[in-house]
Symmetry: C2
């Protein structure tokens, strides 16, 4: 099953637009996980088990594992999801990007080494840096478009021929690079108008939306601005607000509670 | 010793502007390395030993190790250079880039896990995505500015207020983000005028220049356009043209020959 089909099925099955981002920070774990050599995997496993039926995707974030020297636990986390919850797509959030010949090695890393269903990619290097990812027709390529951080305005909002750079990225993605129909875009939740503008350009292309939760984006306005005509089309990521809702023994229950609240607040297929 | 000082000393000592990029592709190695489990490290070691006295830096490329599931050999390669040739800076070419809170984990990966002297970073996410790298005052942050690939024109050449995007990146790097004087820029060798324009904006900031060699850039024109007023300022990378000059038993000797030829052709401090 390819990424697009798997994501559509996950929306239909869960009715949820929520993606749980797995950004492990061991110092924020409950104490008993901090002393275990496989503490990151064990923590992730508990979060995954507590939320898998009410999410449309999981998104492990590469740097959090790499900085801890724990890429084996990244593999274990992805393998666990694929084994236990094969209907839930795994997005490897690695924000790769390099010239074409090297991009092919990054595609191999994400798709062959880690077996991710989709990977995030930076578009700054242009079309030939993206093609090696999209050539994996059964996997998803999720391009940064308008990011949710403060620095997202530095270049992404600058006008080129009267339109911000991120709109040019959206246009290239939708009109030139999407021959395999496997591109998605990252659009931050911080400004709903931005999501609406990108949705207008890209039709029913899936949008990965960070910035709700710890980063403060407005969930209801985000969903209204971004849902596609079928009432889905959004992968709304929350990481820290879910993972660290509690650092007591109730952490997994508390994590589920945050996802349920997001769904109650509107992060659902309609 | 910080990265800038180390690089200045490497130029002064070697009189070379050449950086050897370590982009291991085992299928292109001499046969005896292909069957060894540590073949990537052993191949790199031979290249390093053959060229360390005539280069100003080594640049291992992350994806080539990651795609082969050989990040342990990336560590071993960097550790070997640091141990045997401590005067030669190591640039980890990983092209990282993420929102500030995550960028801090990527900085930790490059500088604490791999002990790189410098790392390449994608500027698309703006200032707060770059600060966690530059805050390591003793290390180098090398921002993509104008890349050497065909897709480099897709966004980087687009005009904003009459100047191409890459010039805006160069301006921010030089005028806003360089408080620790540890930023360099990546500027491809494919158009000498581009290098001259960036040099004009950034003064004596070091420029990492890929695209000579396999990618076809003109070495002599690149050096003339890009040298700083002290006759250095360039880190001219060659990877495949050096590593795979021969796949026979003379491969290391042949690699050295290519570097020597680049120096003879003008890639030297003057």
């Amino acid at each position: 099953m390819n990424y697009s089909t798997k994501l559509q099925a996950a929306w239909a099955r869960s009715k949820s637009l929520v993606c749980v981002g797995l950004d492990p920070e061991p110092s924020r774990f409950p104490a008993r996980f901090q002393s275990r050599p496989d503490g990151i995997f064990a923590f992730n496993k508990a979060i995954i088990d507590a939320t898998a039926d009410i999410v449309c995707a999981f998104k492990p974030q590469f740097a959090h594992f790499a900085a801890a020297g724990a890429l084996d636990q990244l593999s274990a986390t992805i393998d666990y999801i694929r084994d236990r919850y094969p209907h839930v797509p795994v997005i490897l959030d690695a924000k790769r990007g390099d010239v074409g010949s090297t991009a092919a090695f990054y595609a191999k890393e994400a798709f062959d080494q880690y077996h991710a269903d989709a990977v995030t990619v930076n578009p700054y290097l242009g079309g030939d840096s993206i093609a090696p990812f999209t050539q994996y027709a059964d996997r998803g390529t999720i391009l940064l478009c308008r990011t949710s951080n403060a620095g997202g305005t530095d270049f992404q909002e600058r006008l080129i021929d009267g339109k911000p750079l991120y709109i040019h990225v959206a246009r290239k993605a939708a009109n030139e690079w999407n021959g395999n129909k496997n591109i998605s875009l990252v659009v931050g939740a911080t400004v709903p108008k931005v999501i609406a503008d990108v949705r207008y350009v890209v039709g029913d292309m899936p949008l990965l939306v960070p910035g709700v939760g710890a980063q403060g984006g407005d969930l209801k306005a985000t969903v209204e601005a971004g849902r596609d005509i079928k009432g889905a089309g959004l992968v709304i990521n929350a990481s820290r607000s879910v993972l660290y809702a509690s650092n007591g023994e109730d952490f997994a229950h508390a994590a589920r509670g945050v996802v349920e609240q997001m769904i109650a607040d509107g992060a659902k297929v309609e």
